[in-house]
Symmetry: C3
Subunit: 154 residues, 3 copies
């Protein structure tokens, strides 16, 4: 078992079978040493586990869990992109966080920390990434959060 | 006539004269083998052909047409980036879809399929791309959809 | 003093001490010859200088100033990425503009011009960039504008 797989086990993170895209696109594209991964929603076992808006029905801690699940789904796709070996990941380059939120919501960064904190927990310094986080009025399938990612691999 | 131009003709797609940016930026930047293209709105003959919001006045099929037109406008810019030869396109790396939508709308993916399905129709496997699709409250000039793209060329 | 620093002085632009991220990520990641910089909000002296929404309490000229300040904050991070020497910047590749706006707002492009015009003023032709501009319902800390950037350096 590789170094990152061992770390995932220590953290109690189980990677799901990667979700198939809900439309005519692919989960990731590799270009040069970069893996560009499609926006992941907080789906588990084929259904969206976290729906609704921050600042409305979704409390902060649930939003954080949604962001964590998005990151876990990114990892599942990334593992496939790496041919099964997550130790090939050199750097989490960028995460883009889309938080379904009301016009009054202001704590988007704390929600997105669910993904960012897990990135550093899994990859240490290689998990420190550039990041943009924004609010959105609505997401596909009423997802509460969506996270996209760019990764450099060896 | 090149392979992709022939395909476009078979599909009945005519590329417009690329639209000039509405502000102080450029339609695309080439860096290495990547072409990064500015967000395209569904404009035709110098005016926005599809305005309004999904989930409100814009029905699904019209949203799909708007996404198709955004992709056609991306292709027109991409052709210029390729010096007129679309056969140089190696891969559609990523499409970003911004759907002007209400807070209640949930079918963003189906709207964005207008762009994704056309990408695969035009470029076959090289048209399969990573994708992020989100809702937005409003877009420049009241556009119903905006699509940005990253492409790898030879 | 370098060429770009001289230009900044001529334009009366003083770069601030780069703001630390408000969460567990980093201001930028360098991958190959690209610098990917995290979304910057219009913060000055540790607080957000421009809050609220375009189309509501924030008038156009204030939105433009907010976009300018976001770009200045990008430059401050970029200078660090360049080891202090902004003359290493080869190209502003892409700016992403997120405008906190109402559903009725349509002038996102003019707001984002605050960033784009400054990019060209500072870097001349190398400042001409690909760009995507969208409305968002809300941003971290109630920021009025957020701008992310990708740059190529030597």
């Amino acid at each position: 078992m590789g170094r990152i797989e061992t770390r995932l086990a220590e953290l109690g993170i189980t990677l799901p079978t990667p979700m198939a895209p809900v439309a005519n696109y692919v989960p990731f594209v590799i270009t040069g040493d970069l893996v560009v991964i499609s926006g992941q929603i907080p789906a588990r076992d084929g259904k969206v586990a976290y729906t609704g808006k921050l600042g409305d029905a979704v409390p902060m801690d649930v939003g954080v869990q949604a962001a964590q699940l998005c990151f876990i789904n990114l990892l599942a796709q990334l593992k496939v992109a790496c041919g099964g070996d997550l130790d090939r990941v050199q750097q989490v380059v960028r995460l883009g966080g889309f938080i379904a939120a009301t016009a009054e919501f202001t704590s988007h960064a704390q929600v997105m920390n669910g993904a960012s904190d897990m990135s550093v927990a899994v990859f240490d310094d290689a998990g420190r990434h550039a990041r943009s986080t924004i609010g959105v009025p609505s997401l596909p399938l009423n997802a509460a959060v969506e996270v996209e990612g760019m990764f450099r691999i060896a």
